[in-house]
């Protein structure tokens, strides 16, 4: 039998991307995970669901987003042409809304009227608060107290839109602990609540569901780029925290002749605790319900991570990225705090676009790649969000 060369028919029915993914979760969640698998496979075939998703994506979020040729940035790099996929222009200021709307719709179809979410930078919490208001659902957001301090404007936004923001004062007081608390809430209230997870992480089917809702990013690139420029881009770059904007960007392109690069948070150094680069500097293990790459010590305890960008400051990564890394389809490279900060300022000055610190990691990597390539090479970078939220932390430094 001839094997069909595709990386698209993952995960398998147990949620595995090769050896990664699966359901490493407490039994109490199993019925809810099964219910979600079943509901999603039904909704995937449901035209009404797709129509509603499409309508909200276009009228509420502002899709499709433009692909912008960054002329001065390209000139600065002096090599390949750099294009920005403008997810920063979406309602709420980041790609997170793509997933939030999709999952809120699932919750609606499941008859669940309460949304639980975790947030690090507050961007996913904000997106969840938005859809909570949009659908009239009770919304509870778990956020580490350390993140609450460094992302105060987003906390205010969430509260204004009616979400209950619950401070998490455990462990490292950041995103990983917020995920733990959100899972505990779900375990307790699983019959009335949907856990609107914010990235391509967690037990199956979350990595698949979030990837699918974020894939609108890559689909738009795949549609628009050849129309305008005659062919697909040569290189596509996205930043990787949990990995949702990157998975959504890459997935529609994995079978195409396009080089894919993920930019991870290299922080202030390669030793554990100084970065959040699970794929490029971590090792494989179980975190938050999936077998994937993570930052851990020798015994397997999760180590608190570091990144200047709260949205990338997470010790795990989506299992599909672990799969792409292992089969060599995507290259993952660390970008340091310093490089990201420099790029944050550079893009603001040259293009009048203030990128999120997360996205600045991706642009920084794209600039490095552009310098080594010829002028007819085209690079698309997913600009996952806008940087207004980061002004205090950047300018205060």
């Amino acid at each position: 039998m001839e094997t069909i060369k595709t990386l698209k028919n993952v995960p398998d029915q147990h949620g595995f991307f090769g050896k990664f993914g699966g359901q490493y979760a407490p039994e109490i969640l199993k019925p809810a995970l099964d219910e979600l698998v079943e509901a999603y496979s039904r909704l995937r075939q449901n035209q009404e669901f797709h129509d509603e998703l499409y309508r909200l994506n276009s009228t509420y979020s502002g899709r499709p987003t433009p692909i912008y040729f960054a002329n001065r940035l390209t000139g600065h790099a002096g090599g390949a042409q750099i294009y920005l996929k403008r997810e920063d222009l979406l309602h709420g200021g980041a790609h997170k809304i793509n997933n939030a709307i999709g999952q809120a719709l699932i919750a609606k179809y499941l008859g669940k009227n309460r949304l639980i979410a975790e947030t690090g930078a507050g961007q996913h919490g904000t997106a969840t608060a938005m859809v909570g208001a949009l659908f009239g659902m009770e919304t509870v957001i778990y956020m580490g107290t350390k993140d609450i301090e460094r992302q105060l404007p987003n906390v205010k936004r969430m509260k204004l839109m009616g979400a209950d923001v619950v401070p998490v004062n455990k462990g490292s007081k950041t995103l990983k602990d917020a995920v733990n608390e959100a899972m505990r809430d779900w375990v307790t209230n699983v019959e009335t609540s949907h856990y609107l997870i914010g990235s391509v992480v967690g037990p199956h089917p979350f990595p698949m569901i979030v990837r699918d809702f974020q894939s609108v990013i890559g689909e738009e690139i795949k549609l628009e780029f050849p129309e305008k420029y005659g062919k697909l881009p040569d290189i596509v770059v996205a930043c990787v925290g949990g990995g949702s904007n990157a998975a959504g960007t890459f997935y529609p392109l994995v079978d195409e002749n396009v080089d894919l690069y993920g930019a991870e948070a290299g922080g202030i150094g390669e030793s554990a605790g100084n970065n959040s680069a699970s794929l490029s500097l971590g090792s494989s293990g179980i975190i938050h319900g999936a077998y994937t790459y993570m930052i851990q010590n020798r015994e397997g305890h999760i180590i608190p991570t570091h990144s200047v960008s709260a949205g990338l400051d997470y010790p795990g990564v989506g299992p599909e990225h672990a799969f792409w890394k292992e089969c060599g389809r995507v290259k993952y490279l660390p970008v340091s705090d310093e490089e990201a900060l420099e790029t944050f300022k550079l893009v603001s000055k040259l293009e009048g676009i203030i990128p999120a610190l997360e996205s600045a990691h991706a642009i920084s990597l794209a600039l490095k790649l552009a310098k080594e390539k010829s002028k007819d090479t085209r690079i698309v970078v997913t600009l996952s969000g806008r940087g207004d939220k980061d002004l205090d932390s950047v300018l205060g430094m």
Binding site: H14, G22, Q23, Y24, A25, P26, E27, I28, K30, P31, K170, G171, K176, N180, M183, R184, V187, T188, N189, V190, E191, G285, I286, I287, H288, G289, Y291, Q296, R298, E299, G300, H301, I302, I303
Partner: protein, 260 residues
């Protein structure tokens, strides 16, 4: 049943009701936890669950989380687990309860080997469902969890997969005392026991009083598991309270023994 059959299985087949006691290794210090494990022995706990601390204990409630956090700062490591199990094995049946990433990083085969050498009679990994439970790891007889929202069909499947005991959670949520979900629980207990009775059906995650233990036995449980409540007792009244509570539960168990 042969010479290697663990004590708790013999007791079960003799119609004795069981009490399992959970404690976190390293809480409040490594030394004190060793002494508490001795106390649990003295009180007559039939199974002693050694909670091995993990940095991200998602299935545990506030009380145990805090104890785990403290234990981690005390610098607990696996050598202590092997050591304490070997000691416990002289009197009772030690079980290890921790999260999947610990054996994954140690190496599954090496973990099983060490556990066997240390007399560990069973293992509980709350984040390893039967579907993803590595075969090698079954070298330590697994106790799988069944929760109140598990379907009857799935409960039977899980019961079949279990090799040491069957761990029935009494309520939705994490470890720690709260309400029983009576009707559903009783139905589950009967359904499971009608399919599998060679290993005990243990009930846990909510036992904080003698009356709850009585209720569990009345509903048909073969044994009960206490954890969070022991930590609370210790925090208010020290080791003597722990000893007293486990002894009381043993009395309750004795009242129900022999009439299964």
């Amino acid at each position: 049943m042969d010479a290697t059959t663990p004590k708790f299985k013999r007791k079960h087949s003799n119609g004795e009701k069981l009490v399992a006691a959970y404690w976190v290794l390293g809480y409040p210090s490594v030394k004190e936890s060793m002494s508490i494990f001795r106390t649990l022995n003295e009180a007559g706990a039939d199974i002693i669950e050694i909670g091995y601390p993990y940095s991200d204990p998602v299935a545990d409630g506030e009380t145990i989380q805090d104890a785990i956090q403290k234990a981690l700062t005390e610098g607990v490591h696996l050598d202590q687990l092997w050591k304490v199990s070997s000691t416990i094995a002289n009197y009772s049946d030690p079980f290890v309860m921790t999260y999947g990433n610990i054996p994954f990083q140690f190496g599954l085969e090496a973990f099983v080997e060490k556990a066997k050498q240390s007399g560990i009679a069973g293992a509980i990994f709350p984040d390893l469902l039967p579907e993803v439970y590595p075969n090698v790891l079954k070298g330590i007889p697994p106790a799988f969890l069944i929760s109140p929202n598990t379907s009857l069909e799935r409960a039977e499947f899980i019961a079949q997969q279990s090799q040491s005991f069957i761990y029935l959670i009494t309520r939705l949520g994490t470890t720690g005392g709260r309400n029983f979900q009576d009707k559903r629980l009783e139905k589950l207990i009967h359904s499971i026991k009608s399919k599998r009775n060679d290993i005990p059906l243990m009930v846990g995650f909510g036992i904080s009083s003698q009356s709850q233990a009585i209720q569990a036995f009345e509903q048909g449980a073969d044994g009960i598991i206490v954890g969070s409540e022991l930590i609370k007792k210790y925090q208010t009244g020290g080791k003597s309270q722990v000893l007293e509570f486990v002894s009381e539960l043993k009395e309750v168990a004795a009242q129900f023994s022999g009439n299964s």
